[in-house]
């Protein structure tokens, strides 16, 4: 392989290394352990969403509902921790254990994903439309749950026995924040599933040529439903993480997160047409976005300029990608 080819192929990594070097030169705080932990923790949120999104985009779809699912999942967990389940006829309130609250919230996210998948695969609704609908429905449900209010103080009550919820977002494991572990585990599993299982191969095949996949005996509908369920799972997990991190659930959490996730996937070289791309690429994409955001904040660049930089980086990255496809 020629040197220039290597450069082009590894451009995302090179870009990541380059911005890292630039920021560490310009800001003495950038490369400190404290800043790195904050940075990776922020990246984890977007990366987990983007991992789910990668499966959807590889299959030729798109999921616009992830931000709203995150918001709704956070609110469900928040309601279960702070309000419990009220049995008004018996006058009893049941406070579930923190783990049960998390499982319920994540299950709700997967259910919305399954519904998206059903709309797309059974009723042939365009993924953009189906998940746009889910975006509004999930956000509306999140607001309805509390009448628009925030559920504060999710640390739980030791006397009831529902503490521990905040650990998943704010806690640490072997010195690293839990969300970073979750991102690493999620990425490892997703890489394995996408490259080494029949399901992963079938996702690529459906994105590449759905009709050919169908005629080869791939259960296209089932695979699509699962893909949206994975995305719903990741989105709900993110919602729980954020609520746990803040110790409060807010119904507006996750607005425009879907766009950040799509940006990471696209930056990572995954084709919006489906069939081409990788989880590793998505991870790098999420880190490029995260490093840019963090570094620009440290340098005191205004938030408005940050948006302009982010937008330009995405477009330039995709242009480079097109060049590589052509050569």
């Amino acid at each position: 392989m020629r040197f220039t080819e290597v450069l082009v192929r590894l451009r995302a990594v090179i870009a990541l290394v380059a911005v890292t070097i630039v920021f560490s030169v310009l800001s003495p705080e950038f490369l400190t352990a404290a800043n790195m932990t904050i940075l990776v923790k922020h990246v984890a949120i977007n990366a987990i969403l983007a991992i789910g999104m990668t499966f959807v985009i590889l299959s030729g779809g798109i999921d616009l509902s992830v931000g709203s699912i995150a918001g709704l999942a956070g609110m469900i967990a928040g309601a279960l921790i702070s309000k419990g389940i009220v049995f008004s006829s018996a006058g009893v309130v049941f406070y579930p254990h923190a783990s049960l609250a998390i499982v319920t919230a994540v299950a709700a996210g997967m259910a919305i994903g399954a519904f998206n998948g059903l709309l797309v695969s059974r009723l042939s609704v365009a993924p953009f439309i189906a998940t746009l609908g889910a975006l509004y429905v999930a956000r509306g449900s999140a607001l309805l749950l509390s009448g628009g209010a925030t559920y504060p103080n999710l640390t739980g009550d030791p006397s009831i026995g529902n503490t521990g919820f905040t650990w998943i977002g704010a806690g640490t494991l072997a010195g690293l924040p839990v969300p970073i572990w979750l991102m690493a585990a999620g990425a490892a599993i997703a890489m394995f599933v996408s490259r080494r299982t029949p399901f992963g191969r079938q996702v690529y095949a459906i994105g590449g040529n759905e009709r050919a996949a169908l005629l080869a005996g791939v259960r296209v509908r089932r695979v699509k439903i699962r893909v949206y369920m994975i995305s719903g799972f990741c989105a709900a997990l993110v919602g729980v993480l954020i609520a746990a991190q803040l110790g409060a659930a807010h119904p507006a959490t996750g607005e425009t997160f879907e766009l950040n996730a799509i940006a990471a996937v696209v930056l990572g070289g995954t084709s919006l047409m489906g069939g081409r791309g990788s989880i590793v690429g998505t991870l790098i994409g999420a880190f490029v976005i995260g490093v840019l955001a963090d570094g620009l904040v440290l340098l005191g660049v205004s938030e408005f300029w940050q948006m302009i930089v982010k937008g330009s980086v995405i477009v330039v990255a995709v242009i480079l990608d097109q060049f590589q496809r052509r050569s």
């Binding site: 080494r196 299982t197 095949a205 040529n209 005629l215 080869a216 005996g217």
Partner: protein, 511 residues
């Protein structure tokens, strides 16, 4: 339609090098007004590359193009089209959601003096062009509503309205019925009489000899034969294409047909736009037998195979394998039960273009290659190598993108995917469409070998000679029904033709 002046468009000493392979080595090729120049060669011989260079889609590594004796550099299709050079590609390049007229004038719309598209002018010119092709199609029809044969005609009409001087046709008849081929030949002769130069690529050698004035044969990127069509015959061409003398027509060992493997009773498919309705089709496929399904385009061959595979939810009737009913089984379950299908349209329904050769080969076999849910990469490689060797797939590597392969080798990959699952029944829908003579012979021989190994093989075709040569038993279809069945010595071209055209409304059904 033409400039009356004498003019020429020649390629001199063209060499084209791609990374890893030299597609053309010092090829010279000339066109003359009013002449039909046939370009022949096996898949991968360099025909398509030469056409792409002549059409300005690719630039030669060395060599020159001369228009009227002056060197030209074509950097785009637009350049070529401005110089009067047009191409009809093998894979249709139409916009399904635009009307016929809009397709004909895409990129060179007729405008009113307000700058809007002059629909009326376009439609009347479109009607004229289609009329010259002997087709009475409403130019306002959406292309997606036309059957494949008519779409090909639309593609040709598009070149007609562009007022070309040189028209290159890459396999223009591969989807056409005999009547449509005749109409096309009339048009080609008409164009030639108007001093248009035609470059004609086809694998149907008899067809070439009927229409061409001059013949150039390519092999491995070099010109290995050039002659006036009147001076040569089919064996001459085959010898040059393959580099060896043609072998005698293959003797078919008549297989002793075994037990019934697949049985279908009263299959019906309600009519819907873009497909032929099936009307109570029944058939049996037997172990060890090659069954031909002969019928013209629109006869319902594809619909029959798709229904056997379980693609259509609204189909009625019964399908069973080894007496086990598949009526409630979806496509996946039927593939698992032992049915494999090689679809007609390789690009749209066969290949996953974004994947490698190996990934395409193993797509139907993934569950078996992942016994505990994890793909066994060694087993995957082994299975791919075995099938690729059996079918003699010529590919740089199993990890190459499948799109770099020639048409015949791509087709072998799709067939390989089908046989990797070791199916009981193999359905091949027009398996030799758009593949060269050598690959065609290999595909027909493969069907025979698979049948001899105990598989029930069925193939659909509109190529009479091929059906007669390769099938033990033939079902003749037209308008969604089985019209006749012949076996053994009764399989003759005369009988099949008679049965296929027994229904005079057949042609109308296509329109």
């Amino acid at each position: 339609m033409s400039s009356p002046d004498a003019w020429t468009y020649d390629a001199h000493d063209i060499t084209k090098v791609y990374p890893g392979t030299t597609a053309l080595r010092g090829v010279s090729f000339s066109t003359r007004p009013g002449e039909v120049h046939a370009l022949i060669g096996e898949n991968g011989a360099g025909k398509s590359t030469l056409v792409k260079i002549l059409a300005g889609i690719e630039s030669p590594t060395s060599g020159r193009l001369e228009l009227d004796g002056r060197q030209v550099t074509l950097t785009s299709v637009r350049d070529a089209s401005a110089a009067g050079i047009g191409v009809i590609h093998q894979e249709l390049q139409l916009f399904p959601d635009l009307s016929v007229a809009e397709n004909l004038f895409i990129g060179r719309e007729c405008l009113t003096r307000w700058g809007s598209v002059d629909m009326g002018a376009q439609e009347s010119q479109a009607r004229g062009a289609l009329g010259r092709l002997g087709q009475d199609v409403d130019p306002r029809t959406l292309v997606r509503r036309l059957p494949l044969g008519l779409r090909q005609i639309v593609e040709i009409a598009r070149a007609l309205v562009a007022e070309v001087r040189v028209l290159m046709m890459d396999e223009p008849t591969s989807a056409l019925t005999a009547g449509e081929v005749d109409a096309l030949f009339r048009v080609i002769r008409d164009l030639a009489s108007h001093r248009v130069a035609i470059v004609y690529i086809s694998h149907h050698l008899h067809e070439l000899l009927a229409i061409a004035n001059r013949i150039t044969v390519l092999r491995d990127g070099a010109v290995v034969g050039a002659a006036a069509a009147a001076d040569v015959d089919v064996p001459w061409i085959v010898e040059r294409m393959t580099g060896r003398p043609p072998h005698a027509t293959r003797e078919l060992p008549t297989a002793a047909a075994g037990s019934v493997v697949l049985e279908a009773r009263d299959l019906s498919l309600p009519p819907r736009s873009g497909r032929t309705a099936l009307d109570r089709v029944s058939l049996q496929l037997r172990r060890g037998e090659v069954c031909g399904i002969y019928g013209l385009l629109g006869a319902g061959r594809t619909e029959l195979f798709e229904t056997l595979l379980g693609v259509h939810d609204d189909a009625e009737g019964h399908v069973s394998i080894d007496k086990r009913s598949l009526d409630r089984s979806d496509v996946t379950a039927r593939v698992e039960a032992g049915i494999a299908m090689v679809p007609e349209d390789r690009q749209a329904a066969g290949l996953v273009q974004s994947m490698s050769v190996q990934e395409n080969l193993t797509l139907a076999h993934l569950a078996a290659l992942a016994p505990r849910g994890v793909l066994d990469t060694a087993a995957e490689r082994q299975a791919s190598e075995r099938v690729a060797a059996t079918l003699r797939v010529r590919a740089p590597s199993l990890d190459s993108p499948v799109v770099v392969l020639s048409g015949g080798n791509q087709q072998k990959v799709v067939i390989g995917r089908g046989i990797m699952t070791r199916p009981r029944v193999l359905l091949l829908d027009d398996p030799t469409r758009g593949v060269d003579v050598a690959a065609k012979a290999e595909i027909l021989a493969t069907m025979r070998t698979l049948a001899a190994g105990g598989m029930a093989v069925a193939f659909a075709s509109s190529d009479l000679a091929e059906v007669v040569e390769a099938a033990d038993r033939v079902l003749v279809m037209s308008r969604g029904r089985v019209r006749a069945e012949y076996s053994g010595g009764d399989v003759t071209e005369e009988k099949l033709t008679a049965a296929a055209s027994s229904d005079p409304a057949q042609r109308d059904a296509v329109h």
